[in-house]
Symmetry: C2
Subunit: 409 residues, 2 copies
């Protein structure tokens, strides 16, 4: 089944070279035909790594592998395949991960535990790792400093467009680069909201400080988005710092010197997370849900995610119906403190309901026009406190059913 | 939009007269044209009542009204309308409920608080209660002991078939009758799983004992089903006992004398709950999910409901794809104790995965045949303990999008 490119797609930005990173893609024939499905990157010696992984209790073998590798804090290579998630594959799956890492380590000349892995695709089928290891030598020989688009495309599964983002950050007055690629369009929900995201920088940052930058940025980006409330067994965000840029020394605990780096990293992850939602399976509209007036930030986020995950809200948006009654329902089902008679709801900036009932004679025209657009804004004020949060989702359409009713066939 | 009758529909059984209950339906023109949308029942003096309501924090005005009325434990009438849920309607909604109850009370000759109310349909529009009160006198004059089908049809919204169930129970050797009607096909999830369900018996049961029978029966039926994980603001189950049957006295605390009554009531609610799932919006398949080997019954239920609510599982079933990998994902996302390497999964009785990986060379033919059927059985064994639970759901199809993308238009 050919899936049309999402109408919410954005163009892949030009991703500049990052000193110490070379990458590329090859067609290993894992599942797909006539396209690349194997991506490799290698990193200069001294590269540090940080990672955040799915909270799903049944993670894939590559997630197990990366969690263990992360303890060392060092990275020399990344190998990612699309088409097979290597999840729920028992001992054979762990062996496939080990063999893949060993093959890459041999090529790069490093311990296997400095190789990081990602796999995405079908669950429960044993990964044909011989196809990966057979394709790796030629792929490794061909890695390039400008292989970004190839890498961004090689990790796609049901994605309809490649995803990337880049920023320049300042560390102690010196410029460093940060670039990331991501894939994911279904099984997207906290925690986390993409299957795979890889970020690279030439900054020189000790592993503990790098991890301290990554975790909150993931929380504020991927963990505020949802496509279908399902949580992948493979969700992985990895951040690699090659240390090739020249800038004042960053202490192990990070601190103020990384303020701009943290801000730019957060921008990249937010950008990539929204690209994933824009490529939500079947998505026709990008939806921003802001909740204010909750008793706490945590409560606001739960309410926002309850709205973002409601199939009735999402189908109404697909139908361009400003059905705020379903938003009321979703607020109520979140289980968080809410008082029906204090609730106010605006769509596209027009308040349709205030303090527990419809606004008499509100102007429907701007709301109708807003609902026909590609980007929908919902504001819910609970009227209780100062907690606020934003969640992002997409609408639920026939396209979602088309894609997911026949994914394996 | 004409919605075809669910392929999972069952015929409305013949519901016998119940001494002390008269009912009927009228067309009040609340929202629909050319169909009944107002249902009334009246009960003989001495009728007791029990009720269980939505846990949604933004309940409708009729739910508020019923909760208050239930404190008295006595009932003389029930008024239900379809097409407008009288939810999120502020003071006007409470006034509409009060006026409707007052009009019915005047006709029946009872205090308003002995009138119970149910409303289902669009949220956020003020209920035109004058249409209800205008239609009530003629409707009341026309109530009949055999008005069951009229009542079952009059409460429907997006339902494609009327729902009813009946049993005979024994109390101290004497026979009593129990019959129920229900409506609901979307916004179905715990707690609870139908918008509206009304059960009637000629047994003579004190209100506290009646409530003690109802609550666990709802928990074991409606609260084990889900269509789309959304929780209605109007969910209501009411049980009325007219006391017209002759049987040994039931004490206020109920007890052993009600054992058979409880069993038959549980059967009726289970039957009605499954009818609601069978009429799930767009449903093509009824899905039974059994979870065994959990650390507790509560944990098993949470895992079963996580599977039942997963859009990816439900779309795979719609596509007749035995995608057990998505079941693994759903188990993992439930957040309950689970060990990937102990997990076993069977579909239609065939184990496809055992102890953490695919069963080598399992026979796919019976699984493929099973997936093409109307009733799908999924068994998940967690291999951890003795907790077990069953959840019921339906598949997620284009029909769901069709119905919910244009409900208000």
């Amino acid at each position: 089944m050919a899936i049309p490119v999402s109408p919410l797609a954005v163009a892949l930005p030009s991703l500049p070279e990052i000193a110490g990173v070379r990458l590329g893609a090859a067609a290993a024939g894992i599942r797909y035909k006539g396209r690349t499905d194997l991506v490799m990157a290698d990193f200069s010696p001294g590269t540090t790594a940080a990672g955040v992984f799915t909270r799903n209790k049944c993670p894939g073998a590559p997630v197990d592998w990366c969690r263990a590798s992360l303890a060392g804090g060092k990275a020399r290579a990344l190998v990612v395949n699309a088409g097979n998630a290597n999840v729920f594959t028992g001992r054979a799956g762990a062996e496939a991960a080990r063999a893949t890492a060993a093959a890459a380590a041999l090529l790069v000349g490093c311990p296997a535990k400095q190789v990081f892995l990602g796999s995405t695709g079908v669950i429960g089928e044993v990964l044909p790792h011989e196809r990966l290891t057979a394709a790796l030598p030629a792929l490794h020989a061909d890695l390039r400093a400008d292989g970004w688009e190839a890498a961004a495309r090689g990790i796609m599964t049901t994605d309809t467009f490649p995803k990337g983002a880049t920023r320049v950050a300042s560390i102690g007055g010196a410029e460093v680069r940060i670039s990331g690629i991501a894939k994911g369009s279904g099984m997207i929900a906290p925690d986390m909201a993409t299957m795979l995201c890889f970020v690279f920088t030439d900054a020189k940052i000790p592993a503990p400080a790098l991890q301290a930058c990554l975790a909150p940025a993931v929380d504020a980006s991927f963990n505020c988005t949802t496509v279908d409330s399902d949580t992948s067994t493979s969700d992985t965000v990895l951040l690699f710092a090659t240390g090739q840029a020249r800038h004042p020394r960053v202490p192990a605990e990070g601190g103020a010197i990384l303020a701009d780096f943290r801000a730019k990293l957060a921008e990249i992850l937010h950008d990539l997370a929204l690209q994933v939602v824009r490529d939500g399976e079947g998505a026709q509209k990008l939806v921003r849900i802001e909740v204010t007036g909750a008793v706490s930030k945590k409560s606001a986020k739960r309410v926002a995610m309850a709205i973002a995950n409601s199939p009735l809200v999402k189908t109404a948006i697909a139908g361009e119906d400003a059905n705020w009654g379903r938003i009321v329902m979703a607020v109520g089902k979140a289980g968080e403190p809410a008082d029906r008679d204090l609730l106010s709801i605006a769509i596209g900036g027009t308040f349709m309901a205030r303090e527990g009932s419809v606004v008499p004679g509100y102007d429907e025209a701007p709301v109708v026009a807003h609902m026909k657009g590609r980007e929908i804004e919902i504001l819910v004020d609970l009227g209780l406190g100062r907690g606020q949060a934003v969640a992002w989702t997409c609408d639920l359409t026939h396209g979602y059913i088309d894609i997911n009713g026949s994914y394996r066939s």
